[in-house]
């Protein structure tokens, strides 16, 4: 399996605190993405970082990428109750010359309490 791993599996914090999630992957990549899933729904794209980038920001989100360690982290600053969701990292994987798919990790479940 090419599936990556997120760490921790679950994270509980208070509103206003920062939340950090980590992702490790197995193969070389062109880019890495983070997605969010509210309970029982489909995933929504948050942010993409390319393999030649080390850090990227979008609003309260900060993503870092270390290709030498095959790892990435997602930081959510000043968390809100509405940030409660599961977060997944995704990498591109070539299955054949014609077929490239996104492979998702196992996810981190974030719970933000007020």
């Amino acid at each position: 399996s090419q599936q990556g791993e997120e760490d921790p599996q679950a994270l509980s914090i208070q509103e206003g605190e920062n939340a950090t999630m980590n992702c490790s992957y197995k193969t070389s990549i062109n880019n890495l993405q983070w997605y969010r899933q509210n309970s029982g729904r489909g995933l929504v794209h948050l942010i993409l970082i390319r393999s030649n980038e080390r850090e990227k920001h979008s609003g309260r989100l900060r993503v870092t990428l270390d290709t030498s360690k095959k790892s990435s982290s997602l930081l959510i600053t000043a968390s809100r109750a509405a940030d409660t969701a599961s977060y997944f990292c995704a990498t591109d994987a070539e299955f054949s010359q014609a077929g490239t798919a996104l492979i998702f990790g196992k996810g981190t479940t974030l719970s933000v309490s007020s």
Partner: protein, 110 residues
């Protein structure tokens, strides 16, 4: 806005039944995917398609097949449903590098 629609939110089927899960997209995307999601295992890729009538096996294709007769529709078929196929099934399309997901089908096989 990209819209990916899965035909059912909830489905209950009996062991041995042939099950069809339908997914339709409205944005003319070439790539479409089927994942299953289970607690503690995350999303696992079952099959994907990069063009009409073209398909590729993902990480866990056993027990499943797919059909893509038209660009906008990608069907996942459980030839003979088993209880270990009880899961959340997610369909997605890809535009450039970004995936767009349907709302998911929670399938229970009894």
């Amino acid at each position: 806005d990209v819209k990916v629609t899965q035909s059912s939110r909830y489905l209950v089927k009996r062991t041995g039944e042939k099950v069809f899960l339908e997914c339709v997209q409205d944005m003319d995307h070439e790539n479409m995917f089927w994942y299953r999601q289970d607690p503690g295992l995350g999303l696992r890729l079952i099959y994907f398609s990069y063009d009409v009538k073209m398909k590729e096996k993902g990480d866990i294709p056993e027990g499943y097949s797919v059909s893509r007769e038209k660009k906008e529709r990608f069907s996942l078929i459980l030839e003979s449903a088993s209880t270990n196929q009880t899961s959340m099934y997610l369909c997605a399309t890809l535009r450039n590098t970004e995936a767009f997901f349907g709302q998911g089908t929670r399938l229970t096989v009894v």
